[in-house]
């Protein structure tokens, strides 16, 4: 089973990297970029019988820092 885990900063948390990306896009002349937020994509190859609860635990214990980040799990069709 393949899953993609998207780790993003919580709303309201200042994202210096997103801000720099935003400025850089504007610097390149792209108009209409309202905001940019940077996050992480982590792809896992898991045993077929892996439970959702176990995946959640992986995210909360290590993959995301719940103080500042959220995560979203997406299962990838085989």
């Amino acid at each position: 089973m393949r899953v993609r885990i998207f780790v993003t900063l919580k709303t309201g948390v200042l994202d210096p990297q997103g801000k720099a990306i935003h400025h850089a896009l504007e610097g390149l002349g792209f108009a209409g970029v309202n905001d940019a937020r940077a996050g992480k994509l982590i792809e896992l190859d898991l045993a077929e019988d892996m439970t959702d609860a176990a995946i959640d635990e992986m995210c909360r214990k290590l993959l995301a820092n719940m103080v500042i980040e959220n995560y979203r799990v997406e299962k990838v069709a085989a």
């Binding site: 948390v13 200042l14 210096p16 990297q17 801000k19 720099a20 214990k61 290590l62 993959l63 820092n65 103080v67 500042i68």
Partner: protein, 220 residues
Amino acid sequence: MIVFPGSNCDRDMAEAIRLTSGRAPAMIWHREAELPEGLDLIAVPGGFSYGDYLRSGAMAAQSPVMRAVAAAAERGVTVLGVCNGFQVLTEAGLLPGALMRNAGIRFVCRDVPLKVENSQSAFTSHYAAGEEILVPVAHHDGNYQADAETLDRLEGEGRVVFRYADSVNGSARGIAGILNAAGNVLGMMPHPERAVEPAHGRTDGRRLFEGLLEADGQPA
């Protein structure tokens, strides 16, 4: 002295401890699941443990030695985490909040003025409350963040020990160093171990170690 792969301030810290206490600390590798008996102090050094992979301090926080550090902290052993050590302590849940990328994006490496907010802790008894000291910082992820409720609690309980006197990295309320609720764990981004002898150009960090040496703590 805890040593992770990628630690690079462990020897500076060990030297600061040796200079002020006359005793060289044991260097403990991250794979050790048990710490020596009779601990006076656990130091978690700066550097780039595990290459800062995933998040600064995230991998080190899961290492076997950190479970032993958490258990010792629970017993009341004094724990000092500096720079990456502070990041490791927050990731391990020994201190609240998180250290994010500096608001200005850039790595900051310079002496910064710090205000000593609490001189009652074991770490700061040789400083005066409100005193301003000069200590170097060298970090990319020193931007301390926590929710407003946590920040209020830290302030209300006197757990904000050091505050930046200038704008350095975007830290919430200028926080540079905090204590845990019991007061035996300190995490700080500035490097007191880099300011202990005249050859360093400044000695304001020395009193932190001298204060610890004098603190009335029995080895736990």
